[in-house]
Symmetry: C2
């Protein structure tokens, strides 16, 4: 059914979302603005996204009945996290559903070796890396990549989970045990100055829109703060745009993606990884762009024209983790702070409960 010449999904059509978290919630809100209905598939009862969606199928992502129903009722199905099981997407496609972003983006993003190989093969530099299936691979890798190096599971893992630094060859066995001996990747340490990201979209018509570079600060593997537009040289910005464009085009990507970058001391960029979805570091667009990353994603997957990606304000976005969200009253009283809360029932340490965008005039 999919194809460039298909008509756009009209208002009133249903958009399916795999996943019921905050990204699904903000996608659903954006879809509603444009007159769409949203159907959520999530194994979670009472999820943040379900509470703003026209309908919710509470079932496993691979539940045959739920996938059949989703394929039946949706003009297009998307996902809010990159670890959606590949068989679910395959089944949806087999049932005639349009899934965006497509299978090749998902497959590439789900395997860190494939992902980095994709970037290297397309002339986008990443940190040096080597695949790992035995402790011996780690020992050999350390010789080539230098120590310390970062051992990560090839699949799954997010927010710093499933990864461990290896300082020396003697630690290889223990490090491999830490990640339960699953297939892995060993990455050289990048001597970077700061972390940046680029959020970009590609429409069904091949048009591309990229938001300005964002500077990100992580703590304990979790994004704490983003500032945008990041102050960066013309050359750095141009390189980021090239990386975004190449990634979108080579993956024949439809929708919004987030690409995490390392900026080296000379301003050159290494690609760290990409997420085939709306991205936490793009939440600033919600209050500083007329078309934010969520509406942009909905436009792209529905076959609508992309919107402009220029900001009208500068933003510092901070994630509200765990008890941070308890400060809602104080944050709501700040005149230039725009508050987003995700409706999560349980507060847990480090859990993303919301975020706050603090706005400033754009630098001249």
């Amino acid at each position: 059914m999919a194809g460039v010449f298909d008509p756009a999904a009209p208002p009133g059509a249903t958009i399916g979302i795999l996943g019921g978290g905050q990204l699904g919630r903000m996608l659903a809100l954006a879809a509603a603005r444009l007159g769409f209905d949203v159907a959520i598939l999530t194994p979670e009862d009472d999820s943040p996204a379900a509470r703003v969606a026209a309908r919710t199928l509470v079932a496993d992502y691979q539940d045959a009945g739920a996938l059949t129903e989703l394929a039946r009722c949706c003009s297009v199905v998307t996902y809010e996290f990159e670890n959606v099981p590949a068989p679910a997407v395959e089944r949806l496609t087999a049932l005639g559903a349009r899934v965006a972003p497509g299978a090749s983006a998902l497959e590439t993003a789900q395997d860190r070796v494939k992902e980095k190989s994709f970037f290297e093969a397309n002339g986008m530099p990443t940190v040096a890396f080597t695949p790992v299936t035995t402790p011996g691979d780690i020992v050999r890798g350390l010789r080539r990549l230098g120590a310390p190096a970062l051992l990560k599971t090839r699949r799954e893992g997010y927010d710093g989970k499933g990864q461990v630094w290896v300082e020396a060859a003697e630690e290889a066995e223990a490090a491999f045990a830490t990640i339960s001996g699953v297939p892995a990747i060993l990455e050289a340490r990048a001597d970077f100055r700061r972390e940046l990201s680029v959020i970009a979209a590609r429409g069904r018509d091949g048009a591309i829109a990229a938001y300005p570079l964002t500077e990100n600060r992580h703590e304990g593997g979790v994004l704490r703060r983003s500032t945008a537009p990041a102050d960066a040289s013309d050359q750095t910005r141009a390189q980021a745009l090239t990386i975004a464009r190449k990634t979108l085009e080579r993956l024949d990507y439809i929708g919004v993606l987030g690409i995490e970058l390392f900026e080296l001391p000379d301003g050159a960029l290494l690609v760290n990884e990409f997420a085939p979805r709306v991205h936490n570091s793009g939440h600033w667009t919600l209050d500083a762009c007329e078309v934010d990353q969520f509406e942009q994603h909905i436009r792209a997957i529905a076959g609508w024209p992309l919107g402009p990606a220029e900001p009208f304000a500068a933003v510092e976005m901070r994630n509200l983790l765990g008890e941070d969200a308890g400060r809602w009253q104080e944050l709501a009283a700040e005149p230039d702070a725009r508050l987003w809360l995700y409706g999560k029932r349980e507060v847990e340490p480090g859990r993303k409960m919301g975020h706050v965008n603090r706005l400033k005039p754009l630098p001249r």
Copy 2:
């Protein structure tokens, strides 16, 4: 239960909305942003608001079971239209629910004679008027108010429904029959230059925030276009602000209201009417203010601090009536046009299907 010293409704609390139309939908979207759940009460199956709400009670507005459930689950209940039956609000209040805006605002807004008397009694000029219960009242009224004069039902009626111009005494009987002989009001014709409106909010703490004046153009009794901020003299703007402040304070109003104004050739304002709810002429705030009228209303009724009401852009808002919404593809492609579609299933001539905000830089 209500009172100034009650704590604010925390994120995760449920906000009840009577009515399932587009205003309820946009209120629900704003509430979700702040982490609230929304419960809709509407007699309509598959309503625009229900499709973005955590739960929906499909029942008559006076259904005892539905009202009991709403009172039980909601921290505060509001409404999206001013003709909500007074007994429903009374019952909710009797059940211990907080309803905002309160009963006195609703009572005043529901009766055009009470409404105009309220404005006059508080030093806010309106068009001259007289209550009508017989054709003879119309004849006497025409002598005092001049012809033509506008006969309107005292209650119900919106978008120009339930009203008729009376040109001469001979038409009194027929005009009264046109409105089925219900209690009515006869209003003098205002010789105004243009229609303006002011959208303003009052919080539980008594704080007031008013958006800049909006200029409105109606056709056939229905709003077609709003432009904001309206170009107006300091004096006109000050008078509008005074009218908003007095109205909010004298009604002990909590929430957002819209006041329709006539600007006379000398810049002085007459009050036409007010709506105790978010208002069509405030839809421009959705894309030109960091806190739009919908979030502002949710903040007010939830006992949160009001947000700023300064725009960062100038807007021309056009309602998409009936088949207008069929132009969604063209509108979505305009870079400075922000599109809102309400998810209504049936297109009917003149039905409000959505609106479009066209943005321009603020005049300097």
